[in-house]
């Protein structure tokens, strides 16, 4: 009954659909196969394989790049859930390598040092789907125009300070809300201001949501952080340094998963928040000079 002529990989539906399957879930940063297994056991819907979590990138400095293929292979072989990996903004060859390794999603990420300060990767050119960060609606729509199949609000990675995640999520949500209340002829100016194509702006105005899944990231360290971001409209959560920079990663990971599912149930969030030990120490975003903020990367 199969008809090979109709068979198509890497379509928009297949790429965006993959993100649909992650909804309501938690994606965890891991740097070793052992951490990947802890994340899978805790109920993560996917892991993000990288060499250093953002908190260490921030502390150690230097140029941060795509991870070693051996390390990514090790994580792919350790777990059965999807594996994501990060490429530098604009580094299309790192992305080609990650696709060749068989990762399930590429994060074109501001957490790594950008490789191109003008252009992002042409993501339509790939079979593997991409997730990109955004601080506001215009940035999200520009990434979608370049082919991103999933968006995450950026927050400020590696801080354990959730304030920028809330700011970016609220900003995206408010700007979408504003579009839905506009007259059709006002959308032309809105598109110009958002620096995004008119057709895409019109689609968002009509549907009241992005055409791709919207997750949150950057500074989430506790079950309550994750639940708050879900209540603010995130469809799922990326947790980076917050898990493996804490006192009890396995317990904290499991608790964040539960709090994400029951994000609107304070009793459950209270129950899962007990006995988790130390959260990551963290840095206040206000203490980081603006040029050193990762969210400023990408445009």
């Amino acid at each position: 009954m199969s008809e090979p002529t109709t068979h198509a990989t890497g379509t928009t539906r297949v790429k965006r659909g993959m993100a649909d399957m992650l909804k309501g879930g938690v994606i965890m940063d891991v740097v070793t196969p052992e951490q990947a297994k802890i994340a899978e056991d805790a109920g993560a819907v996917a892991v993000m394989a990288l060499e250093r979590v953002p908190a260490d990138i921030r502390a150690q400095g230097g140029v941060s790049r795509m991870s070693d293929p051996d390390m990514i292979d090790g994580i792919i072989n350790a777990v059965s859930i999807p594996v994501m990996a990060k490429a530098r903004i604009g580094h299309f060859v790192e992305a080609q390598v990650l696709q060749s390794l068989g990762v399930d999603y590429i994060d074109e990420s501001e957490v790594l040092t950008p490789a191109d300060y003008s252009n992002h990767i042409d993501k339509w050119a790939f079979t593997v789907p991409f997730v990109c960060g955004a601080t506001n609606l215009g940035e999200a729509l520009r990434r979608i125009t370049e082919g991103a199949a999933m968006i995450r609000s950026k927050g400020e990675a590696g801080t354990g300070d959730v304030s920028n995640a809330t700011m970016h999520m609220r900003s995206i949500r408010a700007e979408i809300q504003r579009l839905t209340s506009m007259a059709e002829d006002e959308l032309y100016v809105a598109a110009k201001e958002l620096q995004a194509p008119y057709e895409l702006v019109k689609e968002v105005a009509r549907n009241g949501k992005l055409p791709v899944v919207l997750f949150t990231a950057g500074g989430i360290a506790t079950p309550a952080d994750a639940a708050m971001m879900m209540q603010l409209g995130a469809e799922g959560v990326f947790v980076g340094s917050g898990i493996f920079k804490s006192g009890n990663p396995a317990e904290r990971a499991a608790a964040i998963v539960k709090a994400t599912t029951f994000h609107d149930d304070p009793d459950t969030i209270a129950q899962v928040s007990r006995g988790l030990g130390e959260a990551m120490v963290g840095i206040n975003v206000d203490d980081i000079p603006v040029p050193h903020r990762l969210a400023e990367r990408g445009w």
Binding site: R13, M18, M21, G25, V128
Partner: protein, 202 residues
């Protein structure tokens, strides 16, 4: 006048996965929908959908929050249940390539291999002929994402569709399972089939 029997109440298991798209498709197919995250939310349902998502996560959360046994009991009592992708895995009596602790609800006498069609770069869409759908001559555009396939089938399991010679849509009694994701397309004929199954039982 629309009666309750015309608009059955169908639950969508909502611990993780593509819940909203299943809810939208079920409503388009004429059902009322309730999200299910707690055992008491199973009460009074005419049917249940287990959505696509990450099967290890769905299984784990169902066991932690006390849904596993009640759902098994409902299946045993004959409640119509439809599972897509991760949901197909959860309805299989046996699975291959699962997580070491993974448990399924079971109900369909089959063995399903998880992620059998490959990783995301192998995910695909294709036209299928599916038995039992309305307008049988119109191909069904099916979206497969890191999809499972059926490797062994019991005698009582009916194959409704195949892709690459593997069964990808099956039915046993009141249970329906697909490897693919009807919820991500605008063609609601699979959900209509399930709503018909629910109405016939109700």
């Amino acid at each position: 006048m629309v009666t309750t029997a015309d608009q059955p109440l169908i639950g969508v298991l909502a611990v993780q996965g593509d819940v909203v798209d299943h809810a939208r498709a079920l409503e388009a197919a004429g059902a009322r929908v309730r999200a299910v995250r707690r055992p008491e939310e199973l009460e009074g349902l005419d049917g249940l959908v287990i959505p696509g998502g990450e099967s290890t996560t769905i299984d784990r959360l169902c066991r932690i929050f006390g849904l596993h046994e009640p759902i098994r009991a409902q299946i045993a009592e004959g409640m119509p249940v439809y599972g897509s992708c991760a949901g197909m895995i959860q309805l299989a009596d046996q699975i291959l390539d699962g997580h070491r602790e993974q448990q399924t609800f079971g109900g369909i006498d089959m063995t399903v291999r998880r992620n059998a069609f490959g990783r995301q770069v192998d995910s695909f869409e294709t036209d299928l002929g599916i038995d039992g759908l309305a307008e049988p001559d119109r191909p069904y555009r099916a979206v497969f994402i890191r999809a499972p396939w059926v490797e062994r089938l019991g005698e009582d399991v009916e194959v409704l569709a195949r892709a690459d010679d593997h069964p990808v849509a099956v039915r046993q009694g009141n249970l329906l399972a697909t490897s693919f994701h009807p919820e991500v397309t605008e063609d609601h004929r699979v959900h209509e089939l399930f709503v018909r199954m629910v109405r016939e039982r109700a």
